[in-house]
């Protein structure tokens, strides 16, 4: 056990540097956004692994504020695009316009050229706009006219979907959902958090402007001072890459992915990309939790965010009123309780 203790000591020192930065970011976010620790953790996981994230939740849960304060904390560029039915791919990517002075076409890049892109209500845009964004997410480069431009690094898309208003929307198909590493469902704050939100909102005050005054918003009182640099971010990304993944953990991931493909209630199981995402996200969570190795808890905590948007229930399950969340939870409970689906080597 002495060797373990020694290694644990080394782990603490290695992880400590990154842990301080991560905690500073979380504290900075907490000064503006109440609660939502889970979402902040998921955003950091996405940021450290370069995987895009889809947030599902009703309006008013401070999604924009959250992403905005996160970008300010790490000194990253931030853009927000409100997706609407009449949005065009060129509105996101950019286009070539004619300069009348020089009589030449000049490329004007779109809002996608940023570090953090909040694609608000992505399901409101037409499929070709969604396709353009998702292609850029995958390729990390954009072609305008005949020129190809690389997107800045880091580049992270935080898309949102409103699960309530579905009229006149274009639901993202499974193949496109698969491009999001995580899909996190935001919940309403609990009463104590709600109380804190209201108290903070009442304390925002007003400020003089021109000949009158305007009521301050959370954006106005947000600290603009970053708590970390790009180097800190790169260090975290590197640390995530160094997180140890045991063979046992890999077996757990294979088991979970296999069960989604063989489950009687699931029509479309997980792609290999889901397994990759599960390992990546687990590594990032391990770092955020102050470990340099992953454990089954990481898998269980992240399973819904990684798997749920990648599976599709079959007709019988839907007719029986089952939900993806319920089926996934049952499947995870079956791990160990029922024989493994992965071939044994006796």
């Amino acid at each position: 056990m002495n060797s373990s203790a020694a290694s644990q000591h080394e782990i603490s020192e290695e992880v400590l540097k990154n842990a301080q930065f991560i905690q500073a970011v979380r504290d900075q976010v907490a000064t503006v956004v109440v609660g939502q620790d889970e979402v902040v953790e998921r955003l950091l996981i996405s940021l450290f692994t370069g995987g895009h994230i889809l947030l599902q939740g009703v309006p008013g849960l401070a999604k924009t504020l959250l992403v905005s304060v996160l970008s300010k904390s790490i000194d990253l560029d931030f853009s927000r695009i409100q997706f609407t039915i009449d949005l065009l791919p060129s509105d996101i990517l950019g286009s070539q316009i004619l300069d009348q002075k020089t009589n030449e076409f000049v490329t004007r890049t779109g809002p996608i050229f940023t570090n953090l892109l909040l694609a608000d209500e992505i399901n409101r845009a037409a499929p070709k706009v969604q396709g353009a964004l998702l292609e850029a997410m995958q390729e990390r480069k954009v072609t305008i006219g005949n020129e190809t431009f690389p997107l800045p690094a880091p580049f992270l898309v935080i898309a949102t979907q409103n699960p309530v208003e579905q009229a006149g929307t274009f639901e993202l198909p499974e193949a496109q959902l698969d491009r999001f590493m995580l899909c996190h469902r935001l919940d309403y704050p609990d009463p104590s958090e709600e109380r804190e939100v209201l108290k903070r909102n009442m304390a925002l005050g007003i400020r003089r402007e021109d000949r009158g005054a305007v009521v301050n918003t959370e954006f106005d009182v947000m600290q603009q001072q970053p708590v970390g640099t790009a180097d800190d971010l790169v260090a975290c990304m590197q640390a995530v890459n160094d997180i140890h993944v045991s063979d046992t953990f890999v077996e757990h991931v294979i088991e979970v992915i296999n069960r989604t493909r063989n489950h009687p209630n699931i029509e479309l199981g997980c792609s290999p990309r889901a397994g990759i995402a599960l390992v990546k996200a687990s590594r990032a969570r391990a770092l955020i939790q102050g470990r340099n190795y992953v454990i089954p808890e990481d898998l269980f905590v992240l399973a819904e965010d990684v798997i749920l948007h990648r599976i599709r229930l079959n007709y019988e399950a839907l007719a029986d009123g089952l939900t993806g969340q319920g089926v996934l939870q049952d499947m995870l409970r079956d791990l160990g309780a029922t024989p493994s689906l992965v071939g044994r080597e006796d």
């Binding site: 373990s4 088991e255 808890e297 269980f300 409970r333 791990l335 309780a337 992965v342």
Partner: protein, 292 residues
């Protein structure tokens, strides 16, 4: 040439002229034709007489009374030479008998009718004299639906036999399947040999991973956390006084960078010792049913 003309006149023109004459004669109206062959009709059925040429000024139908046995109507009137008119008449009889339509006419200028040729008509009755109403239609029997009944009976019998066969065959095959298939081993059945093999250091990586999950499932059932969110379960188990140390030691042995299960067999044996002689009833029925 003359002979040919004579031949043509004799053989072609003369017979043709005779045929034409005969046609014209036959088609020409004859005032006396109506008188010779009286028009006839059934009671209530209208009949029409054309080209009736009557002398004198123009005629019209008299005022009809309730007792009149004939209803007459002049369809059209045309002048026919000096002081004559050609009429088209339509009539229908209400009572059987023989009548003269001229009796139902009068001069339009109210002058005396004078001598008019008779326009005889005969109204016949289809019914016998004693009958005033036609026979009621004879009652016929409803056509039999024997074909329909026959086929419906056949279909019902086939359906009954088919349903019986399906139920019988399905039940039989289900019984056969039940007999051939063994129920999957329960968690308690699987845990014991896995623990023994782990202590002996004979487990593969996949089996070791399964054993770890089996121990989580075991404690979840033992602490009645079946309906709790799986992520929450692992957090609870880590804080539990018995399950916590087990999971932490497994974590050290299986997941840390310097872990090597092969080298740490004594430690594995030490950790799993409490589960080595686990009585079968240590897992409740719920646990067994979950495994099945």
């Amino acid at each position: 040439m003359r002979d040919r003309q004579a031949f043509f006149r004799t053989l072609i023109l003369q017979p043709l002229a005779l045929v034409l004459l005969a046609c014209v004669y036959g088609a020409a109206p004859s005032p006396s034709a109506a008188a010779e062959e009286p028009s006839s009709a059934s009671v209530g059925m209208s009949q029409r007489i054309e080209d009736v040429i009557l002398p004198g000024s123009e005629l019209q139908v008299k005022q009809i009374t309730d007792d009149d046995p004939i209803i007459l109507r002049i369809v059209s009137i045309h002048p026919h030479g000096p002081d004559m008119f050609r009429y088209e008449l339509e009539y229908y009889g209400l009572q059987p008998g023989e009548y003269n339509l001229a009796d139902f006419l009068e001069r339009k200028d109210k002058s005396a009718l004078g001598e008019l040729p008779a326009i005889p008509v005969r109204i016949k009755s289809i019914l016998p004299a004693s009958r005033v109403e036609p026979n009621s239609p004879s009652a016929t029997s409803i056509p039999r639906i024997g074909g329909y009944q026959f086929w419906m009976t056949i279909i019902f019998l086939l359906w009954t036999v088919g349903a019986f066969l399906i139920v019988f065959v399905k039940r039989k095959s289900a019984n056969e399947t039940d007999e051939t298939q063994q129920p999957p081993p329960s968690l308690s059945d699987r845990l014991q040999p896995m623990v023994e093999k782990a202590i002996a250091g004979k487990l593969t990586q996949t089996q070791m991973a399964e054993l770890e999950m089996m121990l989580v499932a075991f404690w979840r059932k033992r602490l009645h956390l079946e309906q709790t969110d799986v992520a929450e379960v692992t957090r609870i188990l880590r804080q539990h006084e018995e399950a916590g140390p087990l999971l932490q030691q497994l974590e050290i042995l299986l997941h840390r960078p310097d872990a090597d299960p092969q080298l740490n067999s004594p430690q594995i044996a030490q950790i799993l010792e409490p589960y080595q002689n686990l009585p079968a009833d240590a897992l409740d029925e719920e646990l067994a049913s979950l495994a099945t």
